[in-house]
Amino acid sequence: MNIDFTKLFFTFLGLMIVLNWGLLMSAIMRKIGARVAGRYGIPWFQPWVDLIKNYAVRSQITHGIMFYLGPVFRLSGGVGLFLFMPILFGSNLWSNFSFQGDLILILYFQFFGMLGMALGAGEGGQPHSFIGISRGLSQFTTIEVPMTLAVISLAVQYHTLSISEIVAAQQGGIMNWTMFTNPFATAAAMLSLLGAFGHSPFDLVKAPNEIPIGPPTEYHGTFLGVLRTNAAILHVVETVLFMNLFFGGASNWFELIIKSFLIYFWSVFVGMVFPRFRIEQSVVWFLKVPLILGIIAILLL
């Protein structure tokens, strides 16, 4: 592997853009949520303030080495997804390390952070962490079912597992987007996205007010700062994944910002409307309509 420093620089720059856009986007979404609830909401720069505060906290505690590694795993998961994701279509510099692995790598690398985080939180020994993790994992299994079917459907449709090539195949007009060429796969995947983003009705994992904040209950200070950093990156990267797969990708940053905002907004929008599911309800929910849509997407091939 020859080291291309220009590319490394662009990759780092991209990460910073994604991080800041992720923070801004989360502020906007919280603001929207507050307005829907009739509140005024936070200032737009609140996430930066929180982040700086968290990183600056002076007294911190740790429960052991795995507790320590949890956030590292988590952030590696987020950054890793970014690294293996082609961000802008047609740009070699913004395609990161996506030529080292395909869509399957992205799908499975999601678990890297999840698993590490779960273990780190586990060493904290906080019961609420365990409850949150057990819910999160349970829910995640069935979220992935429609997603898997959609991915298979796409791979067969485009005869590739390369995200760049899938984006390339959607160029040349809006009607070439997967959304229109394969609506059932898109529908299945977009429903599964609701679970992946963990907004209501699928927010039992963190379940604010019930089990403090679920898995990261014991994390504070820099640990929490790392987790918040990751959340910002991850939200953007995951929307970029959906954008690439179903909505024609993006050829410039502006397009990326618009599309990722809309995709993310979809989950927030649904979250505003529906109340929280219990875990057995949400687990089964993904095996109903989304699963059927996924199967139709497969059968129509």
Binding site: L161, G221, E280
Partner: protein
Amino acid sequence: MVTPIFIVATALGVGFAIGVLNKFGRNFTGALVLAALSFMTFISFQWFYALTFNNLSEAYVFTGGFKPPFAINLLMGQYESIATLMINLIGFLGAVYLYKSLKERGSDAQVVYLILIMALNVLVMTRDIFNLFVFSEITSVAIAGLILLEKGTRSISAGFKYIIATSVISTIFLIGIVFAYFITGTLNIDDFIGISLSTYKGGTIVVFLIMISAVLELKPFPANGWGIDIYEASEAGFSAIISAATTTASLFVLYKIMAFAGAEWNYYIALIGMITFIGSNLLGLKQDNTRRMLGYSSIGQVGLLITILGFKDILGENAPFIFFGILISHYFAKAGLFWLSGIINASNLKAWSIIRKKPILLFLMGTFIFALIGFPPFPSFFAKWTLVMDLVKTGNIVWVIGILLGSLFEAIYLFRWFGYAIKGDAEKTEEYKIEFHKIIPVWIVALSLYVLGYFIAQYNEFTSVINFIPLAFVALIFAIDFMPVLIKNTIAIIGMIFYFYTIYPQLDNLRLIFEVIFLIGGILALIAGYLHKGKRIGFYPVALLMYAGLTGILEAKTTLEFFYGWELMTAGSYFLIIRGKRSMTHALSYMLFSLAGAYAILTAFGIASVGQSTWSLSIINNIQYIPLWAYSLLIIGFLTKTASIGLHIWLPGAHAEAESDVSPMVSAILLKAGVFGIVLTLIGMGAENNQYSELVYVLGWLGAITALIGNLAAVFQEDAKRLLAYSSIGQLGYIVFGFAMMTHLGWLAAFTYTINHFMYKSILFLTIGAVVLRVKTHNMYEMGGLIKKMPFAFIAVLISIIALSGVPPLSGFAGKWLLYNAVILKGWYLQGAIAFFSGIIAFLYLFKLISSIFLGQLKDNHRNVKEISIWFIIPIYILIVGLMIFAAKPELILQPLGTMISQYFPEGGLNWNGGMATTSIGYWHGTHIMIIVGIMFAILFSWLAFLSRKAQKVKQFNIVYSGERPFTPETTHVSYNIFAGYNKALGFLVLPWITDFWTLTTNIVHDISGFVRRIYSGNGQTYLTHIVLYVVVIYFVFFN
């Protein structure tokens, strides 16, 4: 040469002499009896040797100097010499065993015993039908006499019923003889053969009467109530003689009568035998009295032998080999078991747990049971093999099914009994004494079985290829079993390394993969055995037996060698499994599923050999006769070992209850034998032009569903080893699924899974097993927080669960990536989606496993536990190195694998460009991903380490918990039923309806057995009615 008449003369002479000489005391007369019997044995042996090895021709002996029909003539041919040798030998050994018993009963009993043996000899040798009648009467009277000498009303009643029944049978026999003489004017059997008796008017009736009485003497089911009672009521030594010697003689009588009865009888004889074999073994299922159960088993074995006699024309020149192979195994084994039952003196099966106070008796008992069921290296294995092959070749598959069904019934009750002996609750603790003269005969018959097994394997060119070197090594280890673990373990490891070194150049790449898993995996698992102190009696021989079998199936060039290895492996693994605590029922179900699977394989090999001139294993590549059935049978047989859904119920218990270092042997290693079998079968089915797409389609679904159900069931386990066991079921599901795809990528994925599963499941079972040794519980909710105490164990589990879950960058991802590509290119989308869903479910149980044990709250009673033993850490970390190499340089393994698979699937493989693997749709660079993730992880870790460098380490319970310190880890550690919500949502998928199905099947079979058993009312009149009805029914069946 001593003429055979001296057999009779000696017995009679000594018998009369005892009447005169008994004043010298019973020891003297007893010695005289022994001397007479040994001389009789010598005569038979001399003839046997001369007829067999010196090409002596058979000899007639004429009594009184006249020729028939004026005198009786005896024949000593080859078969006669074998039969009389068997009778006299067992007579001699029986006399040794019964020495004290006969002495107590007095010189009369000694004489009766001697006369019985003599009469049996004459039954074999005589060529005069009336003489046959006379000596069968003498036999009956002698047996009844011996039974009646026993004290107690039970034996009197049994003896009486026996006398009545045999006299009815004799009457029928006599009527037949009278008519025979009336219409032919001769009583000589050879004359009957010459004139073909059944062509005479009324001749068929005559033959019928004679034949039916000969059959009835053999106690055919169901007209045999009178015969079973005597096994139960008489002393063990007599039961042994009746079962071994009398049976031999009676079968020989039937053989002689069949010689002149005509071929039209063969079918009916075979049918009678088959009904007896199946019926008697079915009834054996419900018995809890040892002797009675052995009686059923004896009658069952006789039924099988009768069937073989019925097939003697079809079996042709193999018939004597098959007949004597099974007869001799039965003869030695049953005599041995009856004798043991006399030594142990436990009438109830469950009470046999006292036998394990003397492990050497357990060894003898195991020898006999395995010989009866037809395991290698015993003669019955080769005989049954030849029988099945020949029957299938001649188109008698239905009969094969009958034979295998009966054998399975027999295996159920014999192995259940054996299970009680090895693992049953010891109720009685009383001591028992082994008398020298009683145990010597048992040893002789047991050793004879091994020796004969070795010699019979040299019978012809196709059986003589068996490689006995591994078995010899097992025998060596058995011989030094008294030594400490340190020595035996070292010798075992060195032996296996040496064997691997000598064998690996001879293996192709496919077999080499499995040989590495079997032997290198075996060596690593054995290293953990150094933990054990003391002698660990019985462990090393059986572990090595399993490895001998495993390597045997890889080295096999012929179907016979393969099956031989397969059965050795089954036997070894059975013993390994039953060593675990509470393993009795699991070992039994393992054995039964394995046997049923083995029988399916055996039948398939038989079908494959139709129309072939060779026994080479390659015949399964070109099956000409009902190939779909043959392949289905092979696959079903191998799926019992991979524990696919429906055939999996033996696995969780067997793996979970096994000892800590045995679990990886029977999980990570043993299951791969089934995988190897499936690979062979699929290669046989022909990758290129696959006509069996329906079969592999079904197999693919089966694999996917197995993966789902196995993984889902693992989620709901509280026992850590049970969780891993269910996980193995799921993992093997992927492997089966991958192979079923029958594409290059599918196979590559399946092989990747095979190798990975071997590594991470070995690591997990070893680590969890080692943890269990420390914390003394399997229940995960009773552990917690052990990361602080066992960091090495934690790291091992962490790495292996990352690999198992398929998270990049570790090697599990290679499997997932290949499987995705394979599924998409194959077009098995829905099955594939199920398989991937199962893969994600794995996260649930993996998290539960690691977090419940190592994370969360440390329990108060574990505050002083230590790190797992170094003897476990060594093999675990060797395997981790292997796992990491696979992850960092996947091409090192995947490229050679691809080359190998190209032999079968030349198209559609991976393209390699350096470390970059591409398919027509995807790409993946394992090494670079590893480097990228590693660097990123290191940077982020340093960053966080810098930021939180002042973080203070706090003690347990110092958590954000409603403002208090939860000092009870039991209530704070969330582990028990952690996935309750998931259970509520999807738990219905893993309701144990398959277990229920098998339970129901078992119950139905046992209920049938219990119902049929009621015909044996114990009433002598009822038994007579049975005999008469039996005669009538056979009459109408035969004469239509």
